[in-house]
């Protein structure tokens, strides 16, 4: 062996040893260092979880009448993983399915597209779940059609029909409550990825809106899981573990079915009344609250939708209409998501402000037809000169000019356009005391906070908009280039970060940039009625297990106290009574046999509708009763509904009629919703079979 061959041998040996060491190192990495992740990967390859969904808990009203329950439906589902593999991507199958179900092919096509597959703006009715879930076309199919699919399965590859438990909103006593109840739907990829910190199984359905999402963790229960080991052909080789489903718990609400139905009816009637008077009335809301406990007794929004449509299967048009402006955005819960200028209902805040500013509430004040602030004229409602009025009467007849004057002089005292470093800001402080601009914190999702247009808000608004106003001629569209708007922009650019005289006087009558939700106003009036307690309202009352054990009691929280002293509050209460006796609410409540209090509001709305017409006023009525021993706050709002009294005032009266069992001007014995004058405190027995009592 020469040196060269000996050297070569050594080189080969070293090379081979290195290669073997490399293999050993790689083996160590795979089997020791990275073993956990590979074990997980292997488990997901070998295991199949068959999920048996848990029976969802019921949602019942305060007397145990089901608002949401479960029933057996027949689901017809499309399996995208199968139809996508067909040559025409499943078109032929979906077309024949469309013929069978007598729905349009485009609807089925849209329903079976993942939302991510579609361009934004064309996603109405798309499938929010994943490709690997069977996509239900309907869950409430005619069993005979389902049978045809099962029998001719060769003609419908990728289509299945099977009985499923579906969510049903039975509408006992003609109740709708769609916004409050919400609906359920498939999991999104985000839900599956654990975005909200919970783990789900692919085939589960979860609450998507309203109480269904708010209390989903209780209602949902725990699905049962059977874990199988499968081989490459998906043949089950082993059952690894089995857990049985645990049914979801029931939710007892403080809602009363009859009161809810009556509120919905009164709301629809108010809208119809407004429309008959030539107003657009594009939306409305009503809230009834127990002022003593803070519990919500009814909560309605108009327009509404059929909560069962989701399980039946929305057509593309239905899905689009839910969010369409032309249909009035039925999906929007106006009671807590709609924000509107509160107008004269806000004068309760102004009264508190005036009291803390030292104005004598028992003195008389001038109520001229108009009030000049600089060059601008602020008019009374219908420019009516009411002469000299007591403060109480001024509230009753809703005089504006009194407030202009007070707000303007307070604004001047605070330094006007050059505000003092420590202004009194009686009006803003009073509004803050009423928690305007804060969410009520109700146990329903997506509540709007509204807006308190105080000095801080002004400054932040200016920061966001000064570029636009200071470069108005370049930034604004052609249509916006009118002399008035250009002048307005110039002013906004100049001192838009300051509270101007106009802002101050508008604020005092609930106009301008301050907006609130109907629920917020209910909370405020409930606080006036109950002697000053601001409640965080609740709809849920308790979580009860299927065995009837109380799992959790849900109680409203006291979140604040009104910033008024006892005397002011008393004055406020007597003024609100005066509104109904001799003021703007007198007409609506004439002959009402039980003393109630309240305040009208008619808010001017700027801007135009889509068709170019000017927007009509927002109609408000906020009331409570009985006046001497307040228990219920009732608020109604009709957007573009015209006058506060005739639209909403009459509507609130109708709700009070149902509450107190009043027909016309007489009290019908035993007809009141709460015979003892207050909502029940005992939790009801829960059964899906409970039916609504028929109103006497």
């Amino acid at each position: 062996m020469n040196l060269r061959s000996r050297l070569s041998l050594l080189v080969i040996q070293i090379l081979i040893i290195s290669l073997m060491v490399a293999l050993l190192g790689r083996l160590f990495y795979l089997q020791v260092a990275a073993a956990p992740q590979y074990k997980d990967a292997a488990l997901s390859i070998q295991s199949r979880d068959v999920v048996t969904p848990a029976t969802r808990g019921l949602i019942v009203d305060a007397s145990g009448i089901p608002l949401a329950l479960n029933k057996v439906g027949v689901a017809i589902t499309v399996d995208r993983t199968i139809i996508d593999k067909q040559e025409d991507k499943g078109e032929a199958v979906l077309r024949s399915l469309a013929r069978l179900l007598k729905i349009k092919y485009v609807n089925i096509l849209q329903r079976t597209r993942l939302c991510g597959e579609l361009e934004s703006g064309k996603r109405a009715g798309c499938w929010t779940g994943s490709r690997f879930q069977p996509i239900p076309i309907t869950k409430d199919a005619d069993p005979s059609l389902a049978l045809q699919i099962v029998e001719r399965s060769d003609q419908y590859p990728g289509i299945s029909a099977a009985p499923v438990a579906i969510r049903s909103y039975p509408g006992n006593g003609d109740v709708n409550a769609a916004h409050m109840l919400g609906y359920i739907g498939p999991l999104t990829e985000g839900d599956l990825a654990g975005e909200n910190g919970r783990t789900y199984f692919r085939s589960e359905y979860i609450g998507k809106a309203g109480l269904e999402i708010q209390y989903d963790e209780f209602l949902r229960g725990t699905p049962g899981i059977k874990t199988f080991t499968v081989d490459r052909k998906e043949v089950v080789t082993n059952t690894r573990k089995v857990t049985n489903p645990i049914p979801g718990n029931h939710l007892v609400t403080s809602i009363d079915t009859r009161l809810q139905a009556a509120s919905e009816k009164a709301l629809a009637a108010a809208v119809a009344r407004s429309r008959a008077n030539g107003y657009r009335a594009d939306g409305a809301a009503a809230v009834v609250m127990d002022v003593v406990t803070g519990r919500i007794l009814a909560l309605a929004s108009y327009p509404t939708f059929d909560p069962n449509a989701y399980e039946r299967g929305l057509t593309t048009k239905q899905a689009r209409d839910l969010y369409s402006e032309s249909q009035g955005v039925p999906a929007l819960n106006r009671a807590l998501q709609g924000v509107f200028a509160p107008a004269s209902t806000f004068k309760v805040v102004s009264l508190a402000a005036a009291a803390s500013a030292g104005y004598n509430l028992n003195a008389n004040y001038d109520c001229p037809g108009q009030f000049e602030v600089g060059t601008r004229i602020f008019r009374n409602f219908e420019s009516k000169d009411q002469g000299t009025l007591s403060m109480k009467k001024a509230i009753a007849v809703s005089c504006d000019t009194i407030w202009y004057k007070i707000a303007f002089s307070e604004w001047i005292k605070d330094g006007g356009l050059k505000p003092k470093s420590n202004p009194n800001d009686f009006f803003f402080k009073a509004a803050e005391g009423f928690q305007v601009g804060q969410r009520t914190g109700i146990d329903l999702p997506s509540e709007s906070s509204g807006r308190l247009a105080n000095r801080e808000w002004r400054i932040s608004w200016y920061e966001q908009n000064k570029d636009f106003y200071c470069n108005y001629k370049e930034r604004a569209s052609k249509a916006q280039q009118t002399a008035f708007l250009i002048e307005l922009a110039r002013e906004n650019c100049l001192d838009g970060d300051k509270i101007r005289a106009g802002d101050a006087v508008n604020f005092s009558i609930g106009q301008g940039d301050t907006v609130i939700t109907p629920l917020k106003l209910t909370q405020m009036y409930a606080a006036i009625a109950n002697g000053g307690t601001i409640w965080k309202p609740t709809v849920g009352k308790a979580i009860v297990t299927t065995e009837g054990r109380i799992l959790q009691t849900i109680s409203p929280e006291k979140v604040g106290t009104l910033p008024t002293n006892k005397a002011t509050l008393k004055f406020l209460q007597s003024s609100l009574r005066e509104v109904v006796v001799s003021g703007t609410g007198a007409g609506a409540f004439s002959g009402f046999p039980i003393a109630v209090s309240g305040k009208t509001g008619t808010a001017e709305v700027f801007g135009r509708n889509a068709d170019g017409s000017l927007k009509s006023d927002t109609s408000w009525f906020a009331g409570y009763g009985p006046t001497n021993k307040p228990r219920f706050a009732v608020v109604m709002m009709v957007s573009q509904g015209g006058f506060g009294s005739s639209s909403s005032g009459v509507g609130v009266r109708q709700i009070f009629e149902t509450l107190f069992g009043v027909q016309g001007s007489t009290i019908v014995p035993g007809a009141a919703i709460y015979p003892e004058g207050k909502p029940p405190t005992v939790l009801p027995k829960i059964s899906p079979a409970t039916k609504a009592k028929v109103a006497p």
């Binding site: 080969i12 290669l19 083996l27 795979l30 089997q31 073993a35 390859i45 081989d231 490459r232 080789t237």
Partner: protein, 386 residues
Amino acid sequence: MSLINQRQGFRRTRGKSAFWGLDPILTVAVGLLLFIGTLLVYAATRDWYASNGLDPEYYLKRHVINIMIGILLAWGTTVIDYRSLRAYTPVVWGLGVIGLTAVLIPGIGSEVNGARAWFPLPGGFQIQPAELSKIAIIVGMSMLLSEYRHESDAPSHRDVIQALLVAAIPVGLILLQPDMGTVFIISVAVVAMIGASGAPSRWVVGLILIALLGGFGATKLGVINDYQVKRLQSFVDPNSDVLGAGYQLRQARITVGSGGLFGTGLFEGPQTNGRFVPEQQTDFIFTVAGEQLGFVGSGFILLLYLTIVMRAFTIARRSTDAFGRMVCVGVLSWFAFQTFENIGMTLGLMPMTGVPLPFLSYGGSSMFANMIGFGLLQNIYAKQRG
């Protein structure tokens, strides 16, 4: 020569009777691999065959038959006279070339997984001439590189060229099948042998350059790519979703990784039993070891291979003649690089090629060739003992 002389004494002290003149370390290591391989082939096929209503021992029986034939071949190769080995070599080489040519003719050779590499035999057996050609090439080259017809202790250019021709003809035919894995292994063995022969080093450097250029060119021309893509696709169950070309390799890695430190236990692996890795009794047999025996078991298998190769180095160094040394280098490089190629592929270090794992994989031709290679090492070992 002084090195060899020093070791004479050591060799004499070894017991003659215990292993019938065989190298004990080599014999034990190969024996263990054959035993483990038998268990793994059974573990890879038992449950799947049973659940599909087939004979669960189908592969086990055949594997045992293959091993028994292999042992006979190894025994024959061990005891055969050195000189007759040289005499038979041209015949074996010639038969190999004929076989490699014939296998390319449609109707005679059968195409499996995109390569024309097999002769179908009755009873479901198949013969792969490329495996046997490895032996012919190694022995043939060893002859040419060790019989110096001149006063030198190294082969001349002429010897090297002749030796390369002996390798080039079968390699060319295997390229046509195409079976890139085998080509790679033979090429490495050829370079190693020429290097170890003491031939001028420019031959080694030149051959490595040619191999690199050839490999690069083949990839560029799409020869390797097409073949590999086809192979990948043909593996994937046509009824399942086309999961992408990396499916097998990913499955193999997951299966090995999921074994962890101690494995799931023999016959217990759900990945193996679910047959998520294709060809798991042949090319992917190491995944079965990985899943069921864990790092401890599969690491032990690696050590057995290392032992065999290291032992072959020792035999090569102690060989009293150049021929024996050449054969040893050829066989050990073949074993080492085939092992690296196969396990490297399973672990995701090497590209996918269809070569079996020596002594472990199911497959007759490969088993026979490996056992003949093992016999050659034993023969040379025995020769040293005189």
